[in-house]
């Protein structure tokens, strides 16, 4: 009898040895990691170190990792295996599905396995519920620009439906384009610039006019899960594709311009 009681009590702890006491899936308890700031610092240091040697470099662009954790792990595994080929990784948003802390934590856990620095901008799904606050703490800024070797990168939040009324901040974007002195210019956002559901024809045409005027070479976005290439004005427009498609988008900057390739994993 006593033996059975001991077995029963032990089974409590056996069955409940995993897990945590969670109060709510919506509770905001998350470390302030600010990966964008930390990793951007690493990227800029590398730029300073290597600019004297070469201006040629290659990066990877991922997007829409959502809950495609297996696909994301495959992508990360490929990038790490070929880490000497790439300088850094950019993720153009939708790193969660419904903007929950646990989702961001699961994505973060996988991204930390990358042996290259990574930076992000925000996607529409990341802004659901309290996702804005979570994104800010995990990744940091969603709109910023930097120069790497001979290329200026501009990342900006253009999720207009899920953001305050001043998003996308086109005056800011235009200001960054005006200030560019580099031969190469790459703009990245989550939503495609010609998304007719979200933007009016006038808005699309105005954006196209400044992309053309300031000689943007490439416009790279996510949101649409199918990878692909087309044009937006005079710029090459690339859709990185979701992690579920198990494709890597490589962007290579050379002395003769910019090239891209989609690698099937």
């Amino acid at each position: 009898m006593i033996y059975r009681l001991i077995v029963l009590i032990l089974s409590y702890f056996l069955f409940n040895s995993c897990g945590e006491f969670r109060y709510s899936p919506y509770e905001l308890v998350i470390d302030n990691t600010n990966y964008n700031a930390k990793n951007l610092n690493l990227i800029l240091q590398k730029s300073v170190r290597e600019s004297a040697k070469t201006d040629i470099f290659k990066i990877v662009v991922l997007s829409d990792t959502h809950d495609y954790y297996d696909g994301l792990e495959k992508q990360i595994s490929y990038i790490n295996k070929h880490r000497t080929e790439y300088d850094f990784v950019i993720i153009t948003g939708d790193m969660s599905n419904v903007g929950l802390v646990e989702e961001f934590e699961a994505t973060k856990k996988r991204l930390k396995k990358l042996t290259l620095p990574f930076i992000t901008t925000v996607g529409n799904h990341d802004l659901l519920i309290d996702g804005r606050k979570i994104y800010k703490r995990v990744f940091g800024e969603d709109t910023y620009a930097f120069e790497y070797k001979n290329t200026k990168f501009i990342l900006y939040n253009n999720n207009n439906w899920e953001s305050p009324s001043n998003i996308p901040n086109i005056p800011w974007l235009e200001d960054q384009l005006i200030k560019n002195t580099n031969p190469n210019l790459i703009v990245l956002s989550h939503v495609a610039p010609n998304d007719k559901d979200r933007y009016s024809n006038d808005e699309i045409e105005y954006l196209k006019s400044i992309i053309n005027f300031y000689n943007v070479n490439y416009y790279i976005n996510g949101h649409n899960h199918n990878p692909g290439a087309s044009t937006f004005g005079n710029a090459v427009q690339l859709t990185a594709g979701a992690s579920s498609k198990e494709v890597i988008l490589e962007v290579k900057v050379t002395n003769f311009g910019i090239e891209h390739a989609f690698i099937n994993l």
Binding site: M1, R4, L5, L8, S11, Y12, F15, N16, C18, G19, E20, F21, R22, Y23, S24, P25, Y26, E27, L28, V29, I30, D67, Y68, Y69, D70, E73, N97, V98, G99, L100, E102, E103, A106, R110, L127, L128, I129, D130, G131, R132, K133, R137, N160, W161, E162, S163, P164
Partner: protein, 174 residues
Amino acid sequence: MRLLIYSALASFLFTFKAFAYEQLVLQYAGDIGKYSLGYGKDLTDYYRISFHYGYVPANELQNKIETYTIKNNFSLWSYDYQQYQYTFYTGAALFHVPGNKYKTHEYSSTPDNYYRQSSIRGLVYIGHEMAYNKTNSIYLESGINDVWLINAANNDSVDIQDHVSLALGYNYRF
């Protein structure tokens, strides 16, 4: 939605004696609040239903979170030892967190049904309850919500153990 829930709770409380509650439940954690208060009834020897109101206090990042839950416990196996009754059960719950942002987002600028997201979440769990003289009991539950159940089913790399939510509770039977 809140009016509907209050109406359901009131009717459950004050209508037929057959539906009168007979248990008071206090629970800590388990995805339905830091603390939740509920009342329930054993509708059969194997099935218990309970309604809970849960509360998560505000913190520096968020306002308070209120949760309304319906839990359904199904007894799988029970064992009596002297004045103790031990029950192993499984269960499924639905919980609702009121507030527009839990359905979509704070700006609500998206077209209707763009996200097809509900403010009602599901939870499945297993539990163990130890009762003394069938009056006072404590229980421990291990559960997982619908988001991670689906993610674990769709991804080999998702370890379900990383997303288990524990609950500790006390049940008083009148």
